[in-house]
Amino acid sequence: MYRYDDFDRQLVAERTTQFRDQVARRLSGELTEDQFKPLRLMNGVYLQLHAYMLRIAVPYGTMNGNQMRMLGHIARTYDKGYGHFTTRQNIQFNWPKLNEIPDALEDLATVEMHAIQTSGNCIRNTTTDQYAGAAADEIEDPRPYCELIRQWSTFHPEFTYLPRKFKIAVTGSPNDRAAVRVHDIGLRMHKNDAGETGFEVIVGGGLGRTPFVGKTVRDFIGKNDLFSYLEAILRVYNRFGRRDNKYKARIKILVHEVGVEEISRLVEEEWAKIKDGSLRVSDDEIAQYIAQFAPPAFEELRDNDPEFERRKQAHPDFAAWVRSNVIAHKQPGYAIANISLKPIGGIPGDATAEQMELVGDLADQYSFGDVRVTHEQNLVLPHVKKAELFALWAELKNAGLATANLGFVTDIIACPGLDYCALATARSIPLSQRISERFGDLDRQYDIGELKIKISGCINACGHHHVGHIGILGLDKRGKEFYQITLGGDASQDASIGKIAGAGFSEAEVVDAIEALITRYIDIRNVGERFIDTYRRVGMDPFKEVLYGDR
């Protein structure tokens, strides 16, 4: 795991002081709200319906035990005892006071955390595979490159006032768990014909009002050249991205309007001028970062642990949790344990101060102090001995953290929606809670199989509804909440944008509509087909029929 050196610490300390001064200047009236707003946003401070919101960065979703416990401390001291993990692997708190936020940031800085660039029209937190460094299927650990991107993008003087926000995601595995095709830049590691590892560069994906799957501007860029190439893309975007209309300002619109060939030409032209400059990263330097993310001191273990097998036999609850939430690790005798933040009927992604502190402790005890946040709003302990899974599970169960539903119908992504968000047009959380309750029975969930439901409370699509197998978009129709259903979205390596099924449903009707879709799927699926597979085979019509009949 990356540890700060004195330079990183100094930078965060200076940023904390700088923000304290900006807050003081706002409170004294020296800065107007118009002048202050972009400054506070660039430090993760929003103004929501009920209060301020503070979003804290979790770079590429990786934390240690101390950091996780610190989030518990922040929740307890500066908020109302809980926080919300987001689809960008960050965490946000819903009730901080502006005049106390500088103190919260000072506390965070003691564990190498901050809120830098968690909002604003700048390069946001880089996201990646939550199983990086542990997954059996990865080509290479993407985190060293994520850390280099973090540094390159932090306070980049040229790219702090971009046309709009900018999100970069990286996957080191062919099974894309980081949704790289729906980011402003997606980087997919692969090997070229010469056997070198590098990146496919995908540009212009995104959700929001106008969703696009990104397009490849370059099939392969070597590791040494990645940063100058990113800089070339950002310079082209900063210069030519639209600034006349906020809703057309993302790079996806530029790519769509001028075409990927022209973008590629502009980027290559710019890159030719800077590729041999000081952004070229040497093999030595890359090696330093790879060393920072060296695997922990795994023990040599047999992959099968008889005690683990016996526990599964004896405890069907545990066996179910293992089946749904535990994933193969590359190291024999170890496993990846997912902690669901989707208890049946609960608020997706929320965790209490006590839960955060517990997970921090469990990370230290069972997972080499390593804990991850997923873009699906769950947590991960990436390196757990199989022999210790039962003990871990028992502790999680006591804390309400052992829901065995990863990837199933109740593992719903939902944005905060109108319960918190100033931009929302409808609530998301209550709907996710009612769907979760309707399908709460585990056997029923397992029968339905993998099914990703994603709910957004407005067209900005923070709940990723466009890439839900079933997506739900909450809108306002003459003062009433109503919900539009999309089908066939997918955020994986087979990325696709969902299609609108038809007219929307009232709050009272929508859970029944979801159930009708699922019942139809069960009726017509072939053996082994997931919901998305069936949809791809049969298309929209059979589903439309159950939603609308002759309507």
Binding site: T32, Q48, L49, A51, K97, N99, D419
Partner: protein, 97 residues
């Protein structure tokens, strides 16, 4: 047109507040000063937008309200939520008492 009051968020703690007759701000909408017509509403908003108010509140705007048995209640659900708190956490916000 319906009755209107001016709402905003308080600068220091961010809480939803409503403008009172003395140009102060209350967390209780029942304390709000109410405009009966467009002209009064504009005048209220102007009083909420002075330089001095800018170091007290952020982003004042008008909302429609109804007088229900002597109690002011916002018309839009979004604004009702702001007078209560998150619907999914009845233990938090003004509704928690």
């Amino acid at each position: 047109m319906s009755l209107q009051v001016v709402t905003a968020n308080r600068l220091d703690d961010g809480l939803a507040v409503f403008m009172t007759a003395d140009e102060g701000w209350s967390t209780d909408i029942r304390q709000a000063i109410c405009a009966g017509d467009a002209e009064q509403a504009e005048a209220l908003l102007a009083r909420a937008n002075t330089q001095k108010q800018q170091i007290t509140v952020v982003g004042p705007y008008l909302i429609d309200v109804a007088n229900e048995d002597g109690v002011l209640v916002p018309i839009k659900y979004r604004e009702i939520l702001r007078t209560l708190g998150p619907s999914v956490r009845p233990d938090l916000g003004y509704q928690a008492g």
